[in-house]
Symmetry: C2
Subunit: 375 residues, 2 copies
């Protein structure tokens, strides 16, 4: 059973040798050319598919989006669309990122990090179970999977400058806003969110540790954030019940909305070091969006908000960051080649993959997000 069948058909932007950027969907190991399909009047989408990014398509209301989707599914099923082998396609950042927001919604991650970084305090901050904590990141440094990650330099302590010695990953799930809005209720989530991507929020722990009080993460995070090239439509996912929330959240965070049964894997070079489960995230994406906009702030087409690091209860096998996995370097991991790592070495490649339970009950793929560290 393919992970990229008709029930998935994630959207992306591709080009072939020397060509312009075109919108396509992935079917199996091919890209189906939707820009050409609209140019040939196989699909009517008002020009939304003849664009170099997904933004216009994403901005369509849910009914119009569904109408486009129905045509794509029908034509793809009939084998009527031009197929380009994935191997011949270059994949690009699929959408122009407006604002980028990062949440902190895994209780296991927050507890792990609190114990490691703030051992003298309660593991969870006092506000953590009352609201989905988040912060704004740098949208201009969001890059597509495959772009090399240059090791950042910065202040590693008072008067100490140099390349980060504790370069880390954060395995996350990102949600891409299509339809603008403000004060979005949890029940309106699917009217505004277009789809789902994989996110690696690269993090320099030493830079972060010195800078983050009192204004939060800044240069320790802003050098690069990688996203997968395929945006899986929200409607392709089966909803799952979220965890019980105690205390009961305030009204604007209710009903909580659904979780998503996404299974992530993290490969450090050739070694699978972790398999974080998204289904156990404490705050749901609908609650994140409701919180983000409850103060009156608007979201725009192209806004990306990420879940925060996805970590499961077993730190040794389900951590979404190496900070947790190696307990801040105290417990290095051994890779398949026999070498050990506390944090990322130059030349290391990290690949995050994921599959999910689809709306039809089978598994669907989210592709991968990968990056190699360069000096």
């Amino acid at each position: 059973m393919t992970l990229y069948g008709l029930e998935n058909l994630p959207y992306g932007v591709f080009s072939t040798a020397g060509g312009v950027r075109r919108i396509g969907v992935r079917l199996g190991s091919s890209v189906l050319d939707l820009s050409r399909a609209e140019a040939d009047e196989q699909i009517l989408a008002g020009g939304a598919l003849r664009q170099p990014t997904l933004n216009v398509l994403m901005s369509l209301g849910r009914p119009q989006r569904a109408a486009v989707r129905a045509q794509v599914v029908e034509l793809a099923g009939a084998g009527a669309l031009t197929a380009v082998p994935l191997a011949d396609a270059t994949l690009h950042l699929p959408f122009d990122v407006a604002d980028y927001t990062d949440f902190y919604s895994s209780e296991h991650h927050a507890v792990n990090v609190g114990r490691i970084l703030r051992p003298d305090h309660p593991a969870l901050p006092p506000n953590w179970k009352h609201l989905p904590a988040g912060y704004h990141g740098r949208s201009g440094t969001v890059v597509v999977s495959g772009v090399p990650i240059r090791r950042p330099s910065g202040q590693l302590g008072a008067g100490v400058f140099g390349p980060s010695q504790r370069l880390d990953i954060e395995a996350e799930i990102g949600f891409v806003v299509g339809v603008p809005g403000s004060r979005i209720r949890t029940g309106e989530f699917a009217d505004h969110v277009f789809g789902v991507v994989l996110v690696n929020d690269w993090s320099a722990r030493d830079i972060q540790a010195f800078e983050y009080q009192p204004l939060g993460p800044f240069l320790g995070k802003s050098f690069a954030t990688s996203v997968s090239p395929w945006v899986v439509p929200l409607d392709a996912f089966a909803p799952v019940p979220p965890p019980v929330q105690d205390p009961v959240p305030l009204d604007y965070l209710l009903p909580p909305g659904s979780g998503l049964d996404i299974a992530l894997t993290v490969d450090w070079n050739d070694t699978r070091v972790s398999s974080p489960p998204f289904a156990q995230m404490y705050w749901t994406p609908a609650q994140q969006l409701a919180h983000l906009t409850v103060n009156g702030a608007g979201v725009r087409t192209g806004d990306l908000f990420a879940s925060g690091t996805v970590s499961g209860p077993d730190r040794a096998t389900q951590a979404g960051s190496f900070l947790e996995l190696t307990r801040n370097g105290a417990e290095p991991v051994r890779l398949a080649d026999g070498s050990t790592r506390a944090f990322l070495a130059d030349g290391d490649t990290v690949t995050i993959r994921a599959t999910a339970t689809g709306i039809a009950g089978g598994r669907i793929g989210l592709g991968s997000v990968t990056g190699t560290v360069v000096a």
Copy 2:
């Protein structure tokens, strides 16, 4: 002596009844229509002036920008450009904001806030004199002066939801990036920065206080940030020596670059409550940009970075926020109508104005940024 003479000529975007957005410069109490001047081939700017925003103009390299400027100055001086009375012009957000970053570079402000909010800790965080602390804000909610500010709601404490009761301002100076770059040396500042705006970073102190640990300000700041409609070219300002920095900053923050002699005023309704001096800011804008990009992060055309609240040494007359001015509400201020205020009431209007020492030695105006609070 006018504040808006030929040595100033700030850029903006305006429209007249029913018309499209056009680029202009302010001269006295008129707007000179540069879009029309380029359409009529009075000015050659490669199309940069026939745009609905300043972004293309800002993206020009310094020599090209100077060449456009020279033509504008000559034609404006000759009275050869079409003048629209300011009273007939609607002023718009002058540029599309890419990323918005906010610094925290006034020592007086940081000390005041530290004493008020963290009385059990040293007034300055340990990293404060080592780096210009900053964080990313929400670029999608940057609005032009005059847009009403809707009072935000949010979590004011554990389980407490409602409209902010401690709505505040932050009087700041903003710098607008024209030419993209990364790892920008302090000496390259003027190659990348196009100009200067006034910023009011509206802040809900109660929302901020409950949410900000450990990820920094988020919903307490993200509902609205107002900027002045006129972007004063960087070259119009006289450089002034920055304050002595002790300890000496790391190499990448040296030489420190210039300060700017900008005098701000803050009017709360009809009462002038503060006059913050920008010349005393601890970190310079060149150091802010060097820090922002030293980790490899790029800046793009349209990036806005603000100084952080500008406060002088006299808290009673030079505070850039009402948190400081009223000592977190403990010392309300009396307005001209006899009423008193701790924080902003619905219907209140705050107007920040500024003038600066220009490159020719006279004063130049930065215009104003104003906003009225609505329920």
